[in-house]
Symmetry: C2
Subunit: 372 residues, 2 copies
C-alpha cells in the first residue's frame, strides 16, 4: 500500500456524472460553441458559477474580471510566475510545502528560498528582514508560495491572524503571495479559514484553485483569482491567446457540472468518504503508536506524522517497504532538503478504509522494528 | 463577414461523435483511469494510435518514446521553447509565419529574428551566415520556427529539397527546427510533402501537431514529436509532472475517437467541405479580381492574397470593413512588421460557401474602390 500517492479513490471519481455533463453540454444547436475557440480567461458561464459558488465556500465575492481558468493549480502556478516574476527573482516557499512546486518555480528561472517559519507558519518579521537583505544584494523577492489551508503536506491551516499579517506584509513590501487553495473544499470538520485572497482586496495575493481533487485530476482544470490587471496579463500570454483559453471544452462542461448541482452533490458524497479514510488511518496509528502525536487534519488528503526521536524518515523507508507500505519522506517537502527527515507524509485519499488500516499496521510494525 | 478568424465552421465541429467517444471512455469499471492522474508524456493508447496513424499520414514511423501529448500546437511551442532555449537566445521565424507564435516566443524570453527568405522559403545559405554572425556576437541561435506544410498564412508548402537542406543545416549548426505541422491532414488536392521531422532521424527537429483544426480547438489537444531525450525533459517540467500530463482525460477520449475510426470518418467529412469553402472564395475572387493572382492552396485554411500594386493592406482595411468584410493584414505575419503590407490573409474555414462568395464580392468591391 503506497501512501505516497495523493490521488483520489477510484470510487470517488465521478465518471458517470461527468459523462452526463458532457452529454448535456454537447447537445443542441449551440453545442459547437463549447468545442471551438473560447476566450483567453475562460468561459463566462464557468466564471459566473465559480464566483457565486466561492462566495459561499469562502469569505467575500470576487469579480468576474478577477478570474482566469487554468489547467490545474500547478499550471496556475506556472502561469502566475510567468507574469509576476523575471528570471533571477527570488520566490519564497513555505517550509514544508508542496514539493512539486519547487520544480515549477525552478523552471521559471527563479531562485527558491525557504521561508523562515515559527510554530504558526511563515514568520512575518523574519520574512521582512529577508526581503530587505535581498534588496541590499540587488535581488528581488517576487513571490511567496504556500498552501495555507489543509496544506500539503501538513494538513494544517494557517491561523487567521497570520493570514492577515502576511497579506499586509506582501502589500507593504511589494511581493505577491501565491496562495494554493487546492484543498479548501475538502473539509471534514469545523469551519474553513477565509482565504488570504479574501483579505487582500485584490492586492498582493494571487489565489490558485483546482478541480483536480474535488472533481478529477485528469480534467486539468483549475482557476486563478487575481487582480484584473494580472488576469489581463495572463490573457495576453502567447499560447493562452492563441489557444482561446487553456481548456475551453472541459471548462464549459464544468460550468454545466456546477450549475446543475452535480458538483455540490459530488462534494457531499466525497467529504464523508475521505473523512472515514482519514479516520481509519489516524485511529489505527494512534492505537498502534501511542507515543507518536498523530494529527487528525480537518481537511485535505494528508497526515503529517512526526517520527519518534532518532527515527529517520529516509532510513525507515526501506524497512517500511519491506513491511508492505510506502510514503513520502518529509525532507522532500523542504526546498533545501535539509530538514523534514523527522516527518513522513501519508496520503489517505487513494485507498479504502480497510487498506488504510492494513497500511497503518504495517507502518507501526516498521516503526517498532526501527526504533527497537 | 470576418475572414480574419481561423476557426472551424460550426457544422464541422464533431459534437455528437465526440460525446459518443466520451461516453465510451467513461463507461465501465476502468473508466476512473481516464479521469485520474495520467503519465507526464500522455496516455499510451493515444500515443500508439497516433504513431500508427501518422505512419500513413506522413513518411516513416516515430517511436512511442518520441511523442509527448500537449494542449495544442501553441502550447507545444511554449513547451518546446522551455526545454530548448534559454532567455536571450535567438529564435528565427519564417517570414511570413503564424503571428501568434511571436508572443509565445517573446514570453519565453528569447529574441525573435525573421529568417532571410527566397522564393522557396527560408534561405539556407543566408541562415547559415546569420547563425555565424550571431555566434561571433556571443548570441546563440537556438531554434527556427516555421509552418512548412499548408502554412499559416500563405497556404503554401516548402519544397522537398528545401526541407532536406534545412534539416541538414540545423543538424550541422546545432539549432532545432520547430516544425508546426498543424495543417498536414487538411489536404484537399494532391500529395502532402513528407515532414521535416521525417527527414531528421530525430535530430535537429521538433514537430508540433494539433487536433485543434482536425477535431476541435476547444479540446486543447495536440502532440510533439521529438527525440526521446527531449521528451524526457518535457516530462520533467514541474507542472507537467505535477499534473500527470497536460490533458489526460481529453487525451484518453481522443484515443477512443481515433481507434474507433471516428477520426478518419470526421476527416473524410471535413476535407471536401473545406475544399468547397476554399473554392467558393478563390473562384469568386478570381472572377472579380482577374489581375490579382489569387492562389488556390492545396490544404490548410488560408488564402494569401497579393494586393494590386499601390494597395496597402492596412489602408484597405477600413474600406473593406465599410463594405462588410474583414481580414488580417499581411504585416501581422512578419515579426518585424515592416513587410507584408502588400498581402492579406483570408481564412475560409469559418463560413459557409454562400457567405464566402458574399465576402469575396465585398472584398473585390473594396479593392476596386481603393484602387479606383
Amino acid at each position: 500500500v503506497d501512501l505516497g500517492w495523493g490521488h483520489p479513490h477510484r470510487s470517488l471519481v465521478p465518471t458517470g456524472a461527468w459523462a452526463d455533463a458532457v452529454a448535456a453540454t454537447l447537445h443542441g444547436p449551440d453545442a459547437w460553441r463549447s468545442m471551438t475557440y473560447g476566450y483567453p480567461s475562460g468561459p463566462a458561464p464557468l466564471i459566473e458559477w465559480l464566483a457565486e459558488h466561492l462566495s459561499h465556500a469562502d469569505s467575500g465575492r470576487s469579480e468576474s474580471a478577477q478570474f482566469f481558468i487554468t489547467a490545474g493549480a500547478s499550471h496556475g502556478l506556472a502561469l502566475a510566475l510567468a507574469v509576476l516574476t523575471a528570471p533571477g527573482d527570488v520566490v519564497l516557499v513555505d517550509a514544508p510545502t508542496y514539493h512539486l512546486a519547487f520544480s515549477t518555480i525552478s523552471d521559471s528561472g527563479c531562485q527558491i528560498a525557504p521561508t523562515p517559519t515559527d510554530d504558526d507558519g511563515p514568520d512575518v518579521e523574519a520574512i521582512a528582514d529577508f526581503v530587505q537583505v535581498c534588496r541590499r544584494q540587488g535581488r528581488r523577492v517576487a513571490a511567496l508560495y504556500l498552501v495555507p489551508t489543509f496544506g500539503n503536506p501538513t494538513g494544517r491551516s494557517l491561523p487567521d491572524r497570520r493570514r492577515r499579517q502576511l497579506v499586509g506584509l506582501a502589500q507593504r513590501l511589494d511581493f505577491t503571495i501565491v496562495e494554493d487553495d487546492t484543498y479548501r473544499e475538502l473539509v471534514y470538520d469545523g469551519p474553513v479559514p477565509a482565504s488570504l485572497w479574501s483579505h487582500s482586496d485584490g492586492l498582493g495575493v494571487v489565489r490558485l484553485g483546482s478541480f483536480s481533487k474535488t472533481v478529477a485530476p485528469g480534467l486539468r482544470l483549475g482557476w486563478i483569482n487575481a487582480a484584473a490587471g494580472v488576469v489581463k496579463r495572463l490573457e495576453r500570454l502567447g499560447y493562452v491567446d492563441s489557444g482561446g483559453g487553456v481548456n475551453h471544452t472541459n471548462a464549459c462542461v464544468m460550468a454545466a457540472f456546477g450549475t446543475s448541482g452535480a458538483y455540490r452533490q459530488h462534494l457531499a458524497r466525497i467529504r464523508p468518504s475521505y473523512a472515514r479514510q482519514r479516520d481509519a488511518l489516524v485511529d489505527t496509528l494512534r492505537v498502534r503508536l501511542p507515543t507518536v502525536a498523530t494529527p487528525r487534519p480537518s481537511g485535505g488528503w494528508f497526515v503529517w506524522i512526526p517520527l519518534p526521536a532518532g527515527c529517520s524518515a529516509r532510513a525507515l523507508l526501506p524497512t517500511a517497504e519491506q513491511h508492505g507500505v510506502s510514503y513520502v519522506d518529509g525532507s522532500k517537502f523542504h526546498a533545501d532538503g535539509m530538514r523534514g527527515d523527522d516527518h513522513i507524509r501519508l496520503a489517505f485519499s487513494l485507498y479504502a478504509e480497510q487498506d488504510l488500516v492494513t497500511a497503518a499496521n504495517r507502518l507501526a510494525d516498521a516503526v517498532e522494528a526501527a526504533v527497537g
